[in-house]
C-alpha cells in the first residue's frame, strides 16, 4: 500500500477535486470516480479506497443538507424511515466486505458503474411526477415550493416496501463499493414511489450521510480508513463540488451527461477487466 507523502496527499486532493466536481455535475456524488482513481490509479486496495470515498460522501451529504435545509425539499420523515433500511444494508455490507476478494469487488464495481452509465444515458430527460396542489400529502408525503416553475408541489408516497428494498440494496452497495448509493435510490423514488426528482435527490443526499457512516465506522474500526489520505480526499471533494455548482448553470447539461456517461462506461470496463486479472 502506498505511503501518504505530501506529494501523494496533493495528488489525492486533486483526484478528490476532480471526482467531486464530476460527481456534482452529474448529481451522483464523486465516489464512482474517486474509488477507481484511488484503486486503479494510485494502487490503494479497494477497501481502503472505498473507506476514503465514504468519508467524502459524509462530507458532501452534510454540506448539501445544510445548504438545502429550510427549503422543505428534503423529506425528513420518509428519509428517516428509509434510513432504517439503508443503515441495515450498509452495516451488513461493511461487515461482509471484509470477507470478499478484491477481484470480486472490482468486478461488482464494473457492473454497477456500467449500469449507472446506462441509466445516465436513458434518463437524460427526467420523469415528471404529476402533482395536484389540493392533494393531502399524508404523514410521509411532502410539500415544497418549486423555484423553477414558481408553483407549490405536493406529492404522496407510493410503494413504501419498494422504497425500503431499494434503500437496503443502496446501503449494501454503498459500503461494498464506497459510493453514496443515490444512483440506486433516486431513480426508484422518482420513477415508482411518487417523489418529484428534486425532492428525491435532496432526500437521498440527506440520507447518504447516515448510509456512509454505517459503512465507514466499520472500515474505521478495522483500521482501513487512512486519516491523512481521507483528509486530502475530503478537502478535495469539498472544493470540487463547490466549484462545480458555481459553473454548472453555464454548461450544456445534456452534452455533459452524455460525456460523463462515456467516462463512466470506460471506468466500468477498466475496473471489470482488472477484477478478472
Amino acid at each position: 500500500m502506498p505511503v501518504v507523502t505530501p506529494l501523494l496527499a496533493l495528488i489525492i486532493f486533486t483526484a478528490g477535486a476532480a471526482a467531486g466536481s464530476l460527481g456534482a455535475l452529474l448529481g451522483i456524488g464523486g465516489g464512482v470516480f474517486l474509488v477507481p482513481l484511488l484503486n486503479l490509479g494510485l494502487g490503494f486496495p479497494i477497501g481502503v479506497a472505498a473507506a476514503i470515498s465514504l468519508a467524502t460522501v459524509i462530507a458532501t451529504s452534510s454540506t448539501v443538507t445544510a445548504a438545502k435545509a429550510g427549503k422543505h425539499l428534503m423529506n425528513f420523515r420518509f428519509g428517516m424511515m428509509l434510513e432504517v433500511a439503508t443503515a441495515a444494508g450498509s452495516v451488513l455490507g461493511g461487515l461482509t466486505v471484509q470477507l470478499i476478494a478484491q477481484s470480486h469487488l472490482q468486478q461488482l464495481f464494473g457492473i454497477v458503474t456500467g449500469l449507472v452509465a446506462l441509466l445516465t444515458v436513458s434518463r437524460v430527460n427526467r420523469r415528471n411526477v404529476i402533482t395536484d396542489a389540493g392533494l393531502d400529502p399524508g404523514i410521509l408525503g411532502g410539500r415544497f415550493h418549486d423555484d423553477e416553475t414558481g408553483a407549490t408541489v405536493v406529492y404522496q408516497i407510493k410503494r413504501v416496501p419498494l422504497a425500503l428494498g431499494a434503500s437496503f440494496i443502496a446501503g449494501n452497495v454503498s459500503s461494498l463499493l464506497g459510493i453514496g448509493g443515490g444512483v440506486i435510490k433516486v431513480p426508484v423514488l422518482n420513477g415508482w414511489c411518487g417523489m418529484p426528482l428534486r425532492a428525491a435527490a435532496a432526500t437521498s443526499a440527506f440520507m447518504i450521510g447516515v448510509t456512509a457512516t454505517g459503512g465507514v465506522i466499520i472500515y474505521y474500526v478495522t483500521g482501513q480508513l487512512l486519516p491523512a489520505a481521507a483528509a486530502a480526499a475530503v478537502l478535495g471533494v469539498q472544493l470540487g463540488s463547490w466549484g462545480a455548482l458555481h459553473v454548472s448553470r453555464r454548461l450544456p447539461v445534456k452534452a455533459l451527461k452524455l460525456l460523463l456517461a462515456a467516462v463512466l462506461a470506460i471506468v466500468a470496463v477498466l475496473m471489470f477487466i482488472r477484477g478478472l486479472q
Binding site: P6, A9, A55, I58, A59, S61, S62, T63, T65, A66, K68, A69, G70, H72, M74, F76, R77, M80, M81, E83, V84, A87, A88, S90, V91, G94, L95, Q98, P137, G142, R143, G209, V210, A212, T213, G214, V216, I217, I218, Y220, V221, T222, G223, L225, P227, A228, A230, A231, A232, V234, L235, Q238
Partner: protein
C-alpha cells in the same frame, strides 16, 4: 408536514453545518501540521475524522430527542432503530476485527 418539522429541519441543518466545518478545519490544519513538522501528532487529523463520522450520528440523536419531545413515538422509534444499527455495526466490527 407538521409545524415541528420545519424547526427540526433548521436544527439539523445547523448541526450538519457546524460539524462539517469543524471537521474540515481540523483535517486541513492537521494535514498541514503533519507534513510541516515530521513526527507531529496526528491528533487533529483523528479529531477531524471522528467529528466527520459523528456528525450524521449526532443528527440522528437530535431527531430522536425532537420527535420524543413532540411525543411522535413512531418516528422516535424509527430514529432510535437507525442509531442502534450504527452503534451495533461499530460493536460488531470491534468483535469481528479481534477475531481476525
Amino acid at each position: 408536514m407538521k409545524t415541528g418539522d420545519a424547526n427540526l429541519e433548521r436544527l439539523i441543518g445547523r448541526v450538519l453545518r457546524v460539524g462539517v466545518t469543524a471537521s474540515s478545519v481540523c483535517l486541513a490544519v492537521g494535514l498541514l501540521a503533519l507534513f510541516s513538522w515530521p513526527g507531529a501528532s496526528s491528533g487533529l487529523l483523528q479529531a477531524g475524522i471522528l467529528i466527520l463520522i459523528l456528525t450524521p450520528t449526532a443528527r440522528v440523536v437530535l431527531s430522536i430527542v425532537e420527535y420524543a419531545a413532540a411525543r411522535d413515538w413512531k418516528f422516535t422509534l424509527l430514529a432510535s432503530i437507525v442509531l442502534l444499527e450504527l452503534v451495533g455495526g461499530a460493536l460488531a466490527a470491534v468483535v469481528f476485527h479481534r477475531r481476525l
